[in-house]
């Protein structure tokens, strides 16, 4: 993929220190800014790092910080990391630079399930279930994401072999089908449902709670735990499936694990935050330009950069139009796309895709 001899790369320790610094900086800025405006000295007190004079203001600051801002930061960081890492895995497995987590069908499945919940849920959910409606949407989206991936996997797998080409094309077909269904739902929905639907599709971390953080945590830990195993297998896979097989990689098992890991992680992410585009494409490519194609550095590096970038985008999303919120998908695409293009053009020779 990349002409290794012609470039000098920064040492890995420097890259990782910078990424950690970036994530720390993004978290710090995210903690400090917000629509509720907490001045710095009171912020320190609310975090338990100092003393404050005004007890009433302190109580309010603590509540804003601990029940709104911090869970949102935790959720944003985890989801950003998962999306970026999932992007790396998808590009590795599919051996295609354009692959992104949406390819395994998770986004389509989740979107259809969410649209169904928003539009049809209103009509068919009886009064008894209404009190849990807030929780139904993420659960339905997650179920939809998994269902779509399983269907796609079944389609692409025959005689114990998963065809990446069928997976790719099947994913496109399923996305088209799902889009038709969503179009139909859009057609029958009213203003309020349409608004909910559109905003859901563009993604947002609004409504983040510690409960959601805890719900996403196992998936985050799961994909993190699989990093070493996936990195080992994905490196030889760059050469091709047959080549990797002869190098001792259990290719089918690797594909299965990777797809499952991505589906679970992205499914969890999409179900709580809606569809957040571009993180899964921009971050891995950005990092590939810096650390090269080796997955041992690429996977954890992308996770760190994805978390930092998502936090920064969310900080913009929740403050730029305050008190309203920009959908984060708008921010990631608006910043990510031009930035990515500039890098691509400047390093045209590096990315011989």
């Amino acid at each position: 993929m990349i002409a290794r001899g012609s470039v000098t790369r920064p040492p890995l320790w420097l890259v990782f220190c910078s990424l950690l610094g970036l994530l720390f900086g993004a978290s710090l800025v995210s903690t400090m800014i917000g629509a509720a405006g907490i001045p710095l000295p009171r912020l320190a007190a609310a975090l338990g790092l100092g003393t404050a004079g005004d007890a009433v203001a302190l109580a309010r600051d603590e509540l804003v910080l601990w029940s709104i801002r911090l869970p949102r930061i935790a959720l944003g960081a985890m989801i950003g990391a998962m999306l970026a890492a999932a992007g790396v895995v998808m590009q590795g497995v599919f051996r295609n630079p354009l692959a992104d987590p949406a390819l395994v069908g998770v986004s389509s499945g989740a979107a259809l399930a969410a649209a169904l919940t928003i539009v049809a849920g209103d009509r068919f959910l009886t009064a008894g279930i209404v009190s849990v409606r807030v929780e139904i949407l993420p659960v339905a989206a997650f179920a939809g994401a998994l269902a779509a991936t399983i269907a796609l996997y079944r389609l692409a797998t025959a005689h114990g072999r998963t065809s990446i080409a069928i997976f790719l094309l099947g994913g496109i077909a399923i996305a088209a089908l799902v889009n038709a269904c969503i179009g139909l739902l859009v057609f029958v929905s009213d203003d309020r449902q349409l608004r909910d639907l559109t905003f859901w599709m563009l993604g947002s971390f609004a409504g983040a709670t510690w409960v959601k953080v805890l719900a996403v945590l196992p998936f985050f830990a799961g994909i993190l735990a699989l990093f070493p195993a996936m990195a080992r297998g994905l490196d030889p896979l760059i050469l091709g499936e047959a080549e990797a097989f002869h190098m001792g990689v259990a290719v089918e098992r690797l594909k299965r694990i990777s797809i499952a890991a991505v589906a679970l992680a992205v499914g969890a992410a999409v179900s709580v935050s809606g569809i957040i585009g571009f993180v899964g494409i921009v971050v891995p490519h950005l990092l590939r330009m810096i650390v090269g194609p080796g997955h041992r550095a690429l996977l954890p590096g992308s996770a760190l950069l994805g978390a930092a970038m998502t936090l920064a985008a969310d900080a913009i999303a929740r403050t730029l139009a305050a008190p309203a919120e920009l959908p984060i998908g708008v921010v990631t695409a608006a910043i990510g796309a031009p930035f990515f293009l500039v890098l691509l053009l400047r390093q045209r020779s590096l990315v011989a895709l």
Binding site: D122, R133, F199, E325
Partner: protein, 315 residues
């Protein structure tokens, strides 16, 4: 030369015919919400688009002239049961509307899509845009326009006077409010994300009519609002609507991130009212505002003049 003259003469004759046509046939001419002059010859077959338009036509006793309503015409309930349905207000199909052979289309300003409205406006059937202003005067304005367009001037004057009397009575109730409370209207809470009403919405209008203050005034329309901004806006009361018997639960809303830090959550102040009644801006709006005033402060209560006889102006 003669080959050019012939079509020119034809065109001139056609233009002359076009120009003289409306003047010859018009009985009533109204200026609609878009500032267009619309000539109406016959108001015997009306397609009514918009909840308030249908409500007003029923209040004027013109329901037998309605051939079809749209899906937002939820009141009175028999409207959608007995009349043809042309679909959702913003998803109209020109053919669906014109296929009913109406002699007049009365449509709320918000009707759409734009292309469909453009087709309807250029069709030979008069199309009147009824203004959507979310104030008391706005309702009277709607009634007057509809009355003129349908030729029901006397009934229209009657209904307009009753609504004005209701609004005057409402104003005396409002005068008793000691301190205006901050109200936040929650349109929806999908996946824990709150869609809140800003300026220039029906919700903002009814909150003002009830002598309260909209907790969010920084933006127009309905938008996704940041949880911190919800906490910072510190509403005293959260208002929501119910539709088809479906409503947001008080606990569900007030326990959500952001809401749990507001005075509304501390006081458990959550009000839910029927959607078309609360946001319709039709003949019943003064009553809805009165109910809201009462819900905000139980000490303030009173009857409105129109409550004695709902169809007094129906002829």
């Amino acid at each position: 030369m003669s080959s050019l003259a012939k079509p020119l003469i034809c065109a001139a004759a056609f233009a002359l015919a076009l120009a003289s046509a409306p003047a010859r046939s018009a009985d009533v001419t109204v200026r609609d919400a878009a500032g267009r002059s619309v000539s109406i010859r016959d108001a015997s077959r009306i397609v009514s688009i918009g909840g308030a338009v249908t409500e007003i036509l029923y209040a004027l006793g013109l329901d037998d002239r309605i051939v079809a309503v749209d899906a937002t015409s939820l009141f009175p309930p028999q409207a959608l049961r007995t009349k043809a349905n042309v679909g959702y207000l913003r998803q109209l199909s020109p053919e669906g509307v014109l296929g009913l052979a109406p002699s007049l289309v009365l449509a709320a300003e918000g009707a759409g899509p734009k292309e469909a409205i453009a087709v309807l406006e250029t069709a030979s059937v008069p199309y009147v845009r009824v203004p959507d202003r979310f104030t008391g005067e706005g309702i009277v304005e709607k009634v007057r326009l509809i009355a003129v367009a349908t030729g029901a001037m006397e009934r229209g004057d009657c209904l307009a006077a009753r609504i004005a009397a209701d609004l005057a009575a409402l104003e005396t109730l409002r005068a008793r409010i000691r301190a205006p409370v901050k109200v936040m209207f929650v349109l929806s809470l999908a996946g824990g994300r709150a869609m809140i009403a800003g300026r220039n919405t029906a919700a903002d209008g009814i909150i003002r009519l009830a002598g309260a203050q909209n907790a969010i005034s920084e933006f127009e329309g309905y938008k996704l609002v940041n949880e911190e901004a919800i906490a910072a806006a510190s509403p005293d009361v959260v208002l929501a609507m119910e539709r088809d018997g479906l409503k947001l639960g008080a606990d569900e809303v007030l326990a959500g991130p952001g809401f749990n830090l507001t005075p509304a959550a501390a006081r458990k102040a959550f009000i839910s009212m029927e959607g078309q009644y609360l946001l319709g801006f039709g003949p019943r709006t003064a009553r809805a505002a009165r109910d809201l005033v009462h819900a905000l402060d139980p000490d303030i209560a009173g009857r409105l003049p129109s409550e004695t006889d709902a169809r007094a102006c129906a002829g």
